[in-house]
Symmetry: C3
Subunit: 282 residues, 3 copies
C-alpha cells in the first residue's frame, strides 16, 4: 500500500528538480545508439538539459568526469563505443558523476549482453530497461526477441529488486505501469501513453532524461530514487499532453518535444504514482 | 498491357499483408546508414513492424537468423558495418530470412560498389534502388553523381530484368513511376509524390518496408514480387495522403508517419498499378 | 559603421545564390556527427541542395573532388571519420572544392581539438563555430564546457579576424548576432531566433548550408564572405518565419524545413545585416 508521506516527498523533489534543471541546464553526456541520437538530444534540450554525445576513445573519459550526468545506452555498440563506454564509466566513477545504464535488447545478442553484465557490476546509479531486459540483466531469462519486452513489468519486479540490492542501483522497469526500486522502496508510475512505443527512442530518451535529472539532483540532497522517478513522471505526463493533440506517431513525437519544453510543476497534479516500502532483503 | 487477374491478386495480397503485419509485427533487422536510421525505424513502427538495428560483428549474424526480414542499405558503409553485413547475409541465407539490398549511391564510390556487386551475387530476395543505382549494379553505367538518379526508370528496365533473372531477385526501380520485376512479370506503380525526394530517407525507408512485408509474407504463400509491390503501394499511398495535408517537406515527413499508421485496406482503392508478363529470357 | 554599397552587394548575391541553388542543386558532401545527420540532410534538401554523407576511407576523397561543396563537422569524430576527413580535405584541396570546418565542442576535448587545429591549417574556405569554439581554435581559450558557447560573439571578434587573416578563411561566429569576417570586412547578422539553440543541429545544419552556398557560388564571381553571409541570412530568416508558427522546439524544427523550402528572394527584405571595413592587419 502506498506511503503518502514518501509520495509527497517524491512529487516535491520532482518540482524542485524541474526548476533546478531549467535554472542551470545539466551537461548530460550521452553514449547512445545511432537510431535515437537526434531524438534523444532534442528531448534533453526540450526539457532544459544540455546534451553532448561524446563516444570516442580518448574523449569519453575526460568528458564523463566534467559532465553532470552520463547515459550509457547499448543499442548499437560498435567496438569504438564499447571502449569509449568503459572509459566514460571509469571517468564517471572517479568523479562521482551519476550514470544510467540502458541495456537495450540484451539477452539474445551476445556482445551487448556481456557488456551489460560487466557494466552493472560497476554500480550504475540507475538502470533503465523493459521487463525482458531487466530479467536478462539479472540472468533470470534469455531476454526478449529484440527491442520489445515479451515479459510484464510485474514479472521483472524480483529481478529489479535483486539488481538494486546487489549493485546499489535504482532499477527502473518501463512498461504500461513503470516499476522503480532502490531495493528499499518500490515506486509505480501509471502515467504515459502507448504512443511512446510507436516512436523510436521513446524509451531510450527517458534514460537520457534520467541522467539529466540525476545530474541536476547533485548537491540537492535528493535520493537517486526520487530523481529517477521525477524524470519518469515529467516525461510521461508530457507524453500524455502530447498524445492529446496528436493524430499519429509522427505528430506525437513532435508534440512530445513541445510538451517537454512547456511542462511546469503545476502539471505534476496529473501524476499517477504509488510508493511502498519493500520488506528487507533476507 | 496490364493483366487484370494478376493485378487483382497483387492488391488482394497487399490487403492480406497489411492485416498480417498489424496482427503480428515482423521483426525487421536493419543495417542502414546513419543519416536515416531514426526515420527508418519510425516508418517501420508506424506501418506496424518491429524494427531493430543490429549492425555489429558478432551480433548481426545471430540476429538475421531470428529476424523476419533483413534490410541491407549501403549508405554509410563503415568497415564494421561491411563486416556485419556479410555476417547478417550469411545468417539470413542459412535460415531463409528474406533480405533486401539497397545499393545507395553506387557507381562512382568504389567501396560500396564492390560490396554491392558481391552482395547481389548472394541472391537477395529483393533489390531496391533508383535507376542509376540499378544500372550501375548491372554494370551498365557508372551510376549517378551521388544519391540522386540521373537516369529514368525506363532506362533501367533492362538492367532490372537482367539482375532479376541472374540472381533470382525481385528488382524494384524507384522513380516517378516505380518499376518492379521478378524477371517474369513487370509491375508499374504510379503512386507517390515528389515530396518523397525532398525528405532524406524517403527511398531508404521504403527498402525497410519491403523487408517488413517480405517478413510478414513468410508462410503465407505470397510471391516475393507481390510482397515488394505491396510495400510500395502502401508506402506511396500513405505518402499521397501525407502530401495532401503538408505545407512543405518538414510537415510532410511527420504526416507520412501518421498516414502509415492510419492506412487500411480500404485505402488501396487508390492504387495506380499495372502488371504485365515479360517475354521469356532468350 | 555599415557600408551601404557593400551591404546591397551582399543581399544581391544572396538572391542570386538562392536562385542558382534551386536551379542546379549543389552536391553537398557532409562529414558530420551522428546526432544531426538526418536533420542536416533534411535542411539541405529543403533549401534546394543535394546532400550526400560520405564518411569512410576510400570514398571520402573521391567524393570531395566531385562534390560542389564539403562540410567537415567534428561533433562525433570516430577514428574512421577522422581518417576520412583528412582524405576528403585532400580531395577538396586538390580540385578546389570549397569546404567548411565546424569545430564542434573543441577546447576541453583533446582529439577533436588537435584535429581542428590541424584542419584549420589546411585553409578551409570557411570556419563556423560559436564564440567559445572560435576562441579555442585560435588558441585563445580552453573553449566551452561542451557544445554551448560560454563566451559572447564580440569576445571572439579578435580571434575570428586572426584566424581569417592567418588561414585565408571566412570565419563565422554564431550567436545572438552572428559575426562573419574574411579579415578585411566584418558582417553582422541579427536575424535568427533563440529556438535554434533548442533544437539539436541548429548550428551544425547552418554549416552545411554554408557549404551548399559556397558550392553554388563557384563560377559566379561571388566572394566567399558573401556566400557564407547568404547562407546565414537565408537560414535565419527562415528560422524567424518558422518561430512565428511554432508552439515549441518540436514544431519549430519541422516548420524550419517548410520555411527553408518556401523562402524566396522577396523574403530577404527582412535581413538585418551590417557590414564594415576592418582596419588593415598590422
Amino acid at each position: 500500500m502506498s506511503d503518502p508521506l514518501h509520495l509527497s516527498a517524491i512529487l516535491e523533489d520532482t518540482a524542485r528538480l524541474l526548476e533546478a534543471l531549467r535554472a542551470a541546464p545539466p551537461l548530460t553526456h550521452c553514449i547512445t545508439n545511432t537510431v535515437v541520437t537526434g531524438f534523444t538530444a532534442n528531448v534533453l534540450l526540450a526539457v532544459g538539459a544540455a546534451p553532448a554525445m561524446v563516444d570516442i576513445v580518448g574523449e569519453a573519459g575526460v568528458f564523463a568526469s566534467v559532465a553532470s550526468g552520463l547515459l550509457v545506452n547499448l543499442g548499437t555498440p560498435t567496438p569504438e563505443q564499447r571502449a569509449a563506454t568503459l572509459e566514460a564509466v571509469g571517468g564517471a566513477s572517479a568523479t562521482g558523476t551519476p550514470w544510467v545504464l540502458d541495456p537495450v535488447a540484451i539477452g539474445v545478442l551476445p556482445i551487448r549482453t556481456d557488456l551489460a553484465r560487466d557494466l552493472v557490476g560497476r554500480r550504475p546509479t540507475a538502470v533503465r530497461g523493459n521487463a525482458s531486459e531487466i530479467l536478462a540483466l539479472a540472468g533470470l531469462s534469455a531476454g526478449g526477441r529484440g527491442v520489445d519486452a515479451t515479459d510484464t513489468t510485474d514479472a521483472a519486479a524480483g529481478a529489479a529488486r535483486l539488481l538494486a540490492r546487489e549493485h546499489g542501483s535504482v532499477v527502473a522497469v518501463s512498461g504500461e505501469v513503470d516499476l522503480l526500486t532502490d531495493g528499499e522502496s518500490e515506486v509505480r508510475i501509471a502515467n504515459g501513453t502507448a504512443l511512446l512505443t510507436r516512436v523510436t527512442g521513446g524509451g531510450c530518451a527517458l534514460g537520457a532524461v534520467m541522467a539529466a535529472f540525476l545530474g541536476a539532483a547533485q548537491g540537492m540532497d535528493i535520493p537517486a530514487l526520487h530523481a529517477v522517478a521525477a524524470a519518469s513522471v515529467v516525461y510521461e505526463i508530457a507524453a500524455e499532453r502530447a498524445a492529446e493533440t496528436s493524430e499519429g506517431p509522427g505528430t506525437f513525437a513532435v508534440a512530445l518535444l513541445d510538451a517537454l519544453a512547456a511542462i511546469s510543476p503545476a502539471d505534476l497534479a496529473d501524476a499517477r504514482v504509488e510508493v511502498a516500502a519493500l520488506e528487507a532483503a533476507r
